[in-house]
């Protein structure tokens, strides 16, 4: 019962476009300031170390009707860029002092210009993560870029980010990443104990509340999960790929999990981007930059020749013990749709069954998705029987 209540609360939080946990934090910290960061990755420790609250802005799903943003953005742009802007234009992000848009794609970067023009009272910055990730100069550059954003944050907070404060924040976020890795271990090893929607809520909520609270929440969930009276069912094990930026609706994940166990995925990968602890000794800025580049996952919006994406997907499938993959892409997402071609051909070559699909965060009808996934899953159950 306690677990169900936790997941109900998390769903309410994730689907509430008024950001209730942020507003509660501001009530408790009236002088506090909030840093919004768009997908995919942002070094939240830098904001935390200055006493600011970092909040992930990842679209509104179907919770807000996009009206004003449609008048400012061209028609053939993905939903997450327009619904994130709508959240701000409709006053729901009035708590932001700074909005950071990483250089993930052309729509997001161009959208940053719209934010700058639309909100003269808000500081808006593009953060340039290296796309030449294998360059010997990339870490040094990123240290400089993180320090640049750090200076902007220091101006807002009025206090310097000391190395010790940054190390303490890194330790807090290391703990969060460790707990999330544990969530994913359970999902891989005993997916009947934790559904795809539930694991998603656990990850997504990390970007919507203070990490101290989130760590406590994860610890409690991880205590309760092994006691869950759930039994293993005869379902195929799949990896879901395509949720690195725009998020599929929860009901779409629910439809998929009715037919399959999603044993790994790239949903909200930015909050799980760093895959090992960031070292605490030495220069914390360098450790953060080095971890972004060298202790990290992969996505279609980061170019790193050391991590060919199709090979990384095959590895994810292999390590999760999956039998198949669902290769999705958000509608109008240029990098996601382009990567879909690469993934699909690599999976064909490796003989791994996969289902290719498109989604949009605002989708409300899932009969067709359900039918496609069920047909796919049934055909595989026969094949593997």
């Amino acid at each position: 019962m306690e677990l169900e209540r936790i997941f109900d609360d998390l769903r309410a939080l994730v689907e509430d476009p008024s950001f209730p946990a942020v507003r509660r934090w501001l009530e408790a910290n009236p002088q506090g300031k909030v840093v919004g960061h768009f997908q995919v990755f942002f070094p939240e420790e830098v904001a935390h170390a200055a006493g600011l609250l970092p909040v992930k802005i990842a679209g509104a799903g179907g919770t807000v009707q996009v009206r004003q943003a449609d008048a400012r953005i061209a028609a053939f742009v993905c939903s997450i860029v327009r619904s994130s802007l709508e959240l701000a234009l409709s006053g729901r992000l009035d708590f932001l002092s700074l909005m950071v848009v990483p250089n993930i794609c052309d729509a997001a970067r161009n959208g940053c210009g719209v934010w700058v023009r639309s909100f003269p009272q808000m500081r808006v910055e593009t953060l340039y993560h290296p796309h030449n990730a294998s360059s010997a100069y990339a870490v040094d550059y990123l240290v400089g870029e993180y320090r640049r954003i750090g200076r902007v944050i220091e101006e807002l907070s009025g206090r310097p980010i000391t190395d010790d404060a940054l190390r303490a924040s890194i330790a807090l976020f290391n703990e969060n990443r460790r707990l999330l890795r544990e969530v994913y271990r359970i999902k891989r090893e005993t997916p009947w104990l934790l559904s795809a929607v539930e694991s998603y809520l656990l990850v997504r909520s990390a970007g919507l509340m203070p990490r101290e609270e989130h760590n406590a929440l994860l610890r409690r969930v991880l205590e309760l999960l092994p006691q869950r009276p759930a039994k293993k069912q005869d379902r195929i094990r799949v990896v879901f790929e395509g949720g690195f930026c725009e998020q599929p609706p929860l009901d779409m994940l629910a439809v998929i999990q009715n037919a399959c166990y999603i044993v790994d995925d790239d949903l909200m990968i930015g909050l799980r981007w760093i895959t090992e602890d960031v070292p605490l000794d030495g220069d914390p800025w360098r450790n953060l930059a080095d971890s972004y580049l060298n202790r990290s996952s992969y996505s279609p919006v980061q170019r790193d020749p050391r991590k060919p994406k199709a090979e990384m997907l095959l590895r994810r499938i292999r390590e999760a013990g999956a039998e198949a993959a669902i290769v999705a892409a958000a509608k109008m997402c240029e990098p996601g749709l382009e990567e879909q071609v690469n993934y699909s051909r690599a999976l064909d070559a490796a003989g791994i069954p996969h289902l290719v699909m498109e989604f949009e965060e605002t989708m409300t009808v899932f009969e067709q998705v359900g039918m496609e996934v069920e047909t796919f899953a049934e055909s595989l159950l026969f094949q593997f029987a």
């Binding site: 061209a74 970067r109 700058v116 023009r117 040094d140 240029e334 749709l337």
Partner: protein
């Protein structure tokens, strides 16, 4: 060298065609002989460096554009879609994929396979495009990472924040430049010759001056050239012949012709009535029609953002310091990325403000293309900003760069006609 008026009129078109044919001849020969070809993009082309290693340069945006000019883009796009590419992916990418799937067969010649790809992040789709070649050919891909425009405050020149950001970016770009040189040496087996590099920089300096001088001739009323029409040739030559004596000579002739047209009062659009800026690109599958919709109303495009971001990154005052060629090259790349490539697309209102004033502009056409989120995403917002903040009328239309399926003639014509009617009333009200 002076040329008579008779000879000079039309020279930029004739010479542009000759140079374009010559480029295709070199490409086709390279496809036959296996001469090393480098694939690069029109934003951040790096020609000065690649020419030092004798690469033939392929600019796939230009070859894709040309499939549309020849009315054949749809067939190539269809091939790419059959291969797996979505209808929502950039048409330039798909037209090129179609060409590659047909072993380089192109309406103008044959596209050689890449010995090296130098991609960059000025347009993120460039990276995904390059990954296709990487998978398809197994060729080396160098991703030249160029940090761009950051926001309103961070790149304000003269501030400490700007200095620190600029220096950090330059160190990164210079480091990558050295890594790229090593890769070029490995691919070609040739050693880097800094004196040859310096000569290409010298030519690029001269070309940049001439490019701006040509653009400036359009401040004259009536305008001597139409930015999407003649301008696309200027951009093509600025990219394909950047850093070469042929390119420099071309712009000397183009400048001579435009000055002659100004002297004679020759207008690009007879009975010029409306002076416009094009924000974005034209639609190349309906190129003549696109221009005609405006020129039939006496509308001439005196400038375009396209001539800025696809014109080689030549900013006003662009100049390589030949005493420190590599360092200066890196600095100019960073500046061009800030203001010429990313800033000109994401935060263009300041540039527009200046052009509206200096080029005596009546209205702005914002052309969003499905193929290009880089150029198109925020156009409706900029249009509104220019209308509200500067009282400059704007038209927003949408189609594509090269996909003819996305051109809706009646709908676009209706919007263009309505715009001109409103523009005439706006001019009359302003007493112009």
């Amino acid at each position: 060298m002076s040329t008579s008026a008779q000879e000079i009129l039309g020279v930029s078109r004739r010479e542009g065609r000759r140079l374009m044919d010559l480029w295709w001849q070199r490409m086709t020969e390279a496809a036959q002989t296996g001469h090393p070809t480098a694939y690069v993009f029109v934003m951040a082309p790096l020609s000065e460096l690649l020419l030092t290693f004798d690469f033939v340069i392929n600019a796939p945006e230009i070859t894709s554009l040309q499939t549309a000019i020849r009315g054949q883009s749809q067939a190539y796009i269809q091939l790419a879609e059959d291969y797996g590419f979505s209808p929502d992916i950039c048409g330039y990418v798909k037209a090129d994929v179609g060409v590659q799937l047909k072993q380089g067969e192109h309406p103008y010649g044959r596209v050689p396979k890449p010995a090296l790809v130098v991609t960059n992040n000025v347009c993120n789709t460039y990276i995904k495009w390059a990954e296709f070649w990487e998978h398809y050919y197994g060729c080396p891909v160098f991703t030249f990472d160029l940090p761009g425009w950051r926001g309103r405050e961070s790149l304000r020149e003269g501030t400490e924040a700007f200095r620190e950001t600029f220096e950090n970016d330059c160190r990164y770009v210079l480091g990558q430049l050295r890594e790229l040189i090593e890769l070029c040496e490995r691919v070609t087996g040739k050693s880097f010759d800094i004196d040859r590099f310096r000569e290409h920089l010298r030519e690029a300096n001269r070309m940049a001056e001439l490019y701006h001088a040509v653009c400036d001739t359009n401040r004259h009323v009536p305008a001597p050239f139409n930015a999407p029409l003649e301008g696309v040739t200027y951009q093509g030559i600025a990219n394909l012949y950047r850093g070469t004596p042929e390119g420099t000579r071309y712009f000397e002739l183009a400048l001579e012709e435009m000055r002659e047209r100004v002297r004679l009062g020759m207008a690009a659009v007879p009975d010029e009535r409306f002076r416009l800026v094009l924000v974005g690109t034209a639609c190349y599958s309906h190129f003549r029609r696109f221009v005609e919709l405006f020129s039939s109303w006496g509308g001439v495009f005196v400038h375009s953002t396209y001539m800025v971001f696809a014109g080689g990154g030549f900013l006003p005052g662009f100049r390589y310091d030949l005493r420190r060629p590599l360092e200066s090259f890196a600095e100019q790349m960073v500046r061009a990325t800030y203001w010429g490539w990313t800033g000109a697309m994401f935060y263009q209102q300041e540039w527009l403000d200046q052009v509206v004033r200096d080029w005596k502009v009546d209205g702005i056409c914002f052309h969003g293309v499905k193929s290009c989120r880089t150029t198109s995403t925020g156009l409706p917002d900029v249009r509104e900003w220019m209308r509200v903040q500067r009282n400059v009328p704007g038209l927003f239309i949408q189609s594509d760069l090269v996909d003819p399926r996305l051109w809706s003639d009646a709908q676009i014509k209706n919007r263009v006609d309505a715009f001109f009617e409103a523009l005439a009333a706006h001019k009359a009200a302003a007493g112009r």
